[in-house]
């Protein structure tokens, strides 16, 4: 009998599993639950907080709960978008960590049947003089481009912040937006009993096993030991996967779809089952493997990249397989949907795990960590201008300022990204908002990525609110109507009361601002435990906001002033 703690479960979680099952879980079940109920997959520390966000609105087609949120972009078209963190993997393997972060978020958007159309990346690097920062930042930027460029999705903007608090824990937040005709939306809630369950894409190997659990822990000083859990990305296969999925969508061959991200097959299949209200029987011995000797739980939790889970009508299998083979992808029938709620994994016809689907994804007990206002909060506000030395040479001071890491041009970063592929980029990186056009409707989609960690540290509530307000302001100035936003909450451990308080306050500030400005939160992601033994990151909520501009004539480009124009200051 395996100890539940080895699987990463806490005692009350273990008791809950036992209670629901009415028996002791076996090793496979324990390992699966350990990952599925990790912070990364279950949001157990934050799900009650996230309920504060307004998630509905006139323009919301699909809110949180799907692979990405979808808003109405007019004329029967929708924009699907989400931001997701890949912080821990990027700290250990910068190139691959960042690359697979981009790949993962693209599949999230693809899962809705949308064509991934624009990416943004939020990068938070440590002290720029530090050697580690230099290696990490170069690797991360190369990784973002190394995946985004071949896969044919332009990177149109982003956010880069330097602060020494990120030296041990760099942050990589990947945003993707896809475009979809609303009558072609695909959902993960639409499976019915009696359908086939297919894996499309790459073979399954031992990559990233228990990566989700890894992402839920503080970085150990001995990062080498955590290395085997890193995934390797193949953008070439992802490009084929995108084209294959969209062709299947066009041919109306997909009943339901889900990407395989954290916790691989188990997460994607149990989510479809739970959300659709069906049971599932999966034959793990049929999963195409890249390595010999993989055990059922390794297959269950492998985070091999470039795979999608499809639910299709039995009579459509041949047609689906033909499309897959045209694009050179494996497509394997691994099981079926059944009435009821039982999620069953078979290995050579023997049951090796069997649990209610709803238990796996939904029922992780919430954790309410104790919360305490930081004792030093007032002290953080103490600042005396007189303490600053007067610059000897103001010209030099100004130059130093504008060339400082946090203010200087980001060109070295975005020049390494293909900003224009798909021929829709009206405004790429280097401006306050990024803009793409929808060819089919002539409307423009505007987007921004914002973050202001220092403000969130000094005054978490107002910092959170200001982060949201700033991004919406930028859209408004460009002539866009905000449709919705996505956020990634990057924080240190919630287990320290003062850190948890900051998290609560930031979320309250953000949600109040969203409510007041009528901008719903349609998707998001949480990344906790961004701290090492000697460092914690500043509270770092990242916000990606999306708006629509009805026609190119209504788009106000920045930087188009001329000599002789008048300058007005508007606002309070």
């Amino acid at each position: 009998m395996m100890d539940y703690r080895l699987a990463g479960l806490r005692q009350e979680e273990y008791e809950e599993i036992k209670r629901v099952l009415g028996r002791e879980p076996n090793e496979n079940e324990l390992r699966i639950m350990g990952v599925m109920w990790s912070e990364h997959c279950s949001y157990k520390s934050t799900k009650h907080l996230l309920r504060n966000f307004p998630t509905t609105g006139e323009k919301v087609i699909l809110g949180p709960g799907e692979n990405a949120g979808v808003v109405d972009a007019g004329n029967g078209w929708g924009a699907a978008f989400k931001v997701e963190s890949h912080n821990h993997p990027s700290a250990v393997a910068p190139y691959q960590g960042a690359a697979t972060g981009v790949g993962g978020i693209i599949r999230d958007v693809l899962a809705l049947g949308a064509r991934p159309a624009a990416s943004m990346d939020g990068l938070f690097f440590g002290d720029p003089e530090n050697r580690r920062t230099q290696t990490l930042s170069q690797g991360i930027v190369e990784g973002v481009g190394g995946y985004g460029n071949p896969v044919g999705v332009p990177t149109v903007g982003g956010k880069t912040v330097y602060d020494s608090c990120y030296t041990d824990n760099p942050l990589v937040n990947a945003f993707n937006l896809g475009l979809v005709r609303l009558d072609q939306l695909v959902s993960s809630k639409t499976a019915r009993p009696g359908l086939r369950v297919l894996i499309l894409g790459s073979k399954t190997g031992r990559d990233g096993i228990a990566g989700a659990a890894f992402a839920s822990a503080e970085l150990s000083d001995d990062t080498k030991s955590s290395r085997p859990s890193i995934q390797i990305g193949d953008p070439f296969t992802e490009k084929l996967l995108i084209e294959a999925c969209l062709e299947l969508r066009d041919k109306k061959l997909i009943v339901s779809m889900q990407d395989m991200g954290a916790a691989g097959i188990t997460s994607s299949s149990s989510e479809i089952a739970a959300k659709s209200g069906v049971g599932m029987i999966l034959h793990f011995d049929k999963v195409p493997l890249r390595e010999e000797g993989m055990t059922p739980w390794e297959i269950a939790l492998s985070e091999s990249q470039e795979r999608m889970l499809l639910i299709v009508e039995p009579e459509d299998y041949d047609e689906v397989a033909a499309v897959a083979s045209k694009w050179g992808l494996d497509c394997t029938d691994i099981g079926e949907t059944i009435p009821g709620d039982q999620y069953t994994i078979l290995w050579n016809s023997e049951v090796v795990a069997q649990m209610p689907a709803s238990l796996i994804g939904d029922r992780c007990p919430s954790i309410h960590w104790p919360s305490k206002r930081p004792g030093d909060l007032e002290k953080r506000w103490e600042f005396d201008l007189e303490d600053l030395p007067m610059p000897e040479d103001f010209n030099k001071a100004v130059l130093d300022l504008v060339t400082s890491p946090s203010l200087r041009s980001r060109r070295w970063i975005y020049e390494q990204y293909d900003q224009m592929v798909q021929a829709n980029t009206v405004q790429g990186p280097g401006a306050p908002v990024s803009v793409i056009r929808i060819k089919e409707t002539g409307r423009l989609i505007a987007m921004t990525m914002e973050s202001d960690p220092w403000k969130c540290y000094l005054d978490p509530y107002r910092g959170g609110a200001e982060t949201v307000a700033r991004s919406i302001r930028a859209l408004a100035v460009a002539g866009a109507t905000p449709l919705g936003l996505t956020d990634c909450l990057n924080f240190p451990s919630p287990e320290k009361p003062e850190q948890y308080w900051e998290l609560e306050e930031v979320v309250h500030g953000m949600s109040d601002c969203c409510k007041n400005l009528e901008c719903p939160v349609v998707s998001g992601n949480v990344s906790l435990y961004n701290e090492s033994s000697t460092q914690r990151i500043l509270p770092t909520p990242v916000v990606g906001t999306v708006g629509v501009i009805d026609s190119p004539d209504h788009y106000l480009r920045s930087g188009t002033w001329q000599e002789g124009d008048h300058l007005f200051l508007v606002g309070a």
Binding site: D234, F236, A423, T425
Partner: protein
């Protein structure tokens, strides 16, 4: 005008070229999968688009250059058919031996996506006849392997035959190292074969075909091709 855009696994600018051809010169455009053995009948122009065919693995363009459709393309071009390779398409043309040279990794070994100025060295090719000779145009580049290389002797022959069609330049037409984004020998951005019916270039005309997207110098290339086909008819 009937154009055909070849799609390899990993191509990612195929639809951009299709869009530009349809919208700028109202061409009839078909895409052709690399596994096909024949081109559509009455094709006036074949485009090998940008992207990462076969993931750019081994050498850029190497595997695409050996895919089934290439025999038909070779035959088509031998008969004088117009053939245009953009970015990865240029790499494929050199690997297939349809154009001389090879594209090596950029001098700073980084991917570069940036607007570039080019000097039009020839306006007597089917692809450039609507430009004026010496005109400076702006096209974006987006590549990791764009350093045009040929051994010294072959390079001399290329120059002597006047096969260089585009060179990297400054906005004012100055040709110098600092305006050469990738280290290409002789600042070469695009070349043609001796007969003049094949053009390969690293910059992307299809990304410079609309003012809304930042510029339309590239649109002139599609107009040139259309004008040439109208004048010469199908070969």
């Amino acid at each position: 005008m009937k154009a055909c855009v070849v799609v390899f696994p990993g191509s990612n600018c195929d639809q951009d070229v299709v869009y530009a051809l349809r919208h700028v010169v109202q061409a009839t455009v078909e895409t052709v999968w690399h596994k096909e053995k024949n081109l559509p009948a009455n094709t006036d122009l074949v485009v090998l688009p940008g992207g990462y065919s076969y993931g750019d693995y081994l050498r850029t363009g190497a595997m695409a250059a050996r895919s089934p459709i290439m025999d038909a393309i070779r035959e088509y071009s031998e008969k004088g058919g117009l053939l245009l390779g953009i970015c990865n398409g240029f790499q494929i043309l050199t690997e297939a031996g349809l154009l001389p040279g090879v594209l090596l990794a950029n001098k700073f070994l980084r991917f570069i996506c940036s607007p570039c100025y080019l000097k039009v060295e020839r306006n007597d090719t089917p692809f450039t006849l609507r430009y004026s000779k010496g005109q400076i145009v702006q096209f974006p580049i987006a590549h990791h392997e764009g350093l045009f290389y040929l051994p010294e002797e072959d390079l001399k022959v290329l120059e002597k035959n006047n096969q260089v069609v585009f060179r990297y330049a400054s906005r004012d037409g100055e040709i110098a190292e600092q305006h050469n984004p990738n280290g290409a020998l002789h600042h070469i951005a695009g070349i043609t074969n001796e007969k003049g019916n094949i053009l390969g270039l690293m910059p992307h005309p299809e990304r410079a075909s609309e003012l809304l997207l930042g510029g339309d110098d590239g649109a002139v290339m599609w107009q040139s091709i259309k004008a040439w086909i109208k004048k010469e008819g199908v070969r």
